[in-house]
Amino acid sequence: MNTSSLSIYSSTEKSEELVFQGTSLSDGVAIGIVFLPKEKEEIEVPKFAITADQIDREIDRYRKAVALSRADLEHLQCSLAGEGLQEAVSIIRAHLEMLRDPVLTDEVEGKIRRELFNTESVFRTTMQEFLVQFSHKADAFFQQRLVDVMDISKRVLGHLRKDPKRALQEAPVNSVVVVDEIDASMTASVQTRCIVAFVTARGATGSHAALIARSRGIPYIGNIDIEPFHRAKGQLIIVDGTAGKVILSPKKETVIRYRKKQYRSMRMQEHFEPLLGLPAETSDGHQIALLANVGTIEEIAMLSKVGAEGIGLLRSELLFSDLIHDPLSEDAQFKLFTKAIFQLQGKPIVIRLFDFGGDKRIPGETSRNEEANPLLGCRGVRYLFRRPKMLRTHLRALLRAGVSGDLRLLVPMVSDLAEMRQIREIMEEVSEELSKEGIPHRIKLPIGCMLEVPSALLLTDALASVCDFFSLGTNDLTQYVLGIDRMNSNREVFYQPIHPGVLRLIRFAILEAKRHGRSISVCGEIASQPLFAPLLMGLGVNELSIIPRHLPMVKKMIRGSAVTEAVCVAREALACKEASQVYQLLMSTYSGSLENSS
């Protein structure tokens, strides 16, 4: 991956840009890197005869695989409902219904008994028989339902294998997935942070995958000859979902043109417009500050359209993912940060220090040593400490840019007090250095600590003495508290930000932060989900940082709820023993408001 990303610099300079025309299946513009999921080696299905005394074991395996598939889908449904995507929820409901199909169960279990073959071969034959009935129908619309049946089939077969692994979970940040075909569960389970667009050889407007892509705002183009892309792994690619166009290794000018177009295409749904001028205030008069999570300059420009009160999290490393600006240059950083701060016109902006490492690498950097567990490895502030020169350049650029507005810094992956102290010391040194050189800059910037490693949350009181504010990064926190890699293929089953274990730890940190007079906001994905907003509010959070597109929905949810009720709900949630109970509690209290907000 690294060698190919090195070549991007050269390819944007020299090689011709290639334009492909396909069918638009979901609008919008995305600029990213080509990601080719491993051709899912047409899941190999072993076939062997079994003896009569193995029948029960095989049937048991089948039931377990179905139960695991159901659990996957239920969690997926939960997170989609959290995002307020009712239509996607109903598609997943249809998938759940298919898994419960009595004819399917009778067929599979009956055949195992009668024909004495292993579960996966019997299941596959049964599904193929269903598919044959579909496929001689000419209607393109119903052909699409075939994809749903295959989707289910793959899911169950996946659980019958020893090592189930789903291809898209390995996609790095800013990936454009180029693949033969995608299905509904693929589109529904992607993290929008990692996957920015889809390009497929097949695909149809009526497909459930397209529908979910549209409701999640992920550009998607079908009917593209993907053959040439197989040699383009890691190259820059533009997806113009509106025009149905794909541009491979675009020229600089093309990238700039599309960045502008991308910004223009981010329109808000009309029915949210009346909300714009209104505060995020609960029905009992409690105000919540709604800020935005952003990663590009263009996103910042649209903030006034969604009514954000500032930026709660600027993922600084993403500003450089377009491969045009060099993240190692002080001037490039200074210019980009200044541009960002200027656009805020005095509103607060929190820039998170470069969060490289883990699943994000510096473009063009060859890895020195592959880590076995990159998400538990040298990332965030640890990564910066290992590159003192880069850290100093970074802080210089930030201090210089700080004169343009209300800038605050956020330190990622803090696990211990010493790290915060060290950052402060280096910042003082850098500031003196700049003074000596006579370069204008802010002497001091407020520094916040990202709470995402459990040890940091448990030390909130101590950290309060060395930082000015806190920001809860619930995505990483969830994976560390539950001990599950968030890229893991079983993520849907175990990765739950509303797990009572996570909630109790969050609650602890919020109380400690407040006790020491430090503000605390939430910037993880949980804050962008309307269903979870009242819960966070009830836990004592007054500030949420949200994906811009979700901001109006969250605001609507807040305006429709009361903090007094939210506090009771949060108390009940903290007493829950399982994530599913928390989910049911929220659904029973707030699903009504959710329907109105989607």
Binding site: P102, F130, Q133, D139, F141
Partner: protein
């Protein structure tokens, strides 16, 4: 009680996932069993995959055979589910 009746699919996209799901759920809550014949194929209406495999478009005429204690009421509910044009 046992009934056989012809039903016209009026949902604009035909018998697709959502109406099929509704039919299945109606039958799950009832005490009747139903079979549907369309285009010379007869399938078990309790099975969503079988229902979808009929690929019945809007305007298709299905023959529904239903049997059970609450056959008549269930039949009515199924007709209603397949008559919502907006679905």
């Amino acid at each position: 009680m046992k009934y056989t009746q012809e039903i016209i699919v009026k949902t604009s996209l035909g018998l697709h996932a959502r109406p099929a799901m509704e039919v299945v759920q109606i039958l799950q809550r009832s005490q009747s069993k139903a079979r549907i014949t369309y285009d010379q194929r007869t399938i078990d209406a309790q099975s969503i995959i079988s229902l979808l495999s009929l690929a019945a478009p809007c305007g298709a005429v299905l023959t529904l055979a239903i049997e059970g204690k609450d056959a008549k009421a269930t039949l009515l509910k199924i007709v209603m589910a397949l008559s919502k044009p907006s679905e």
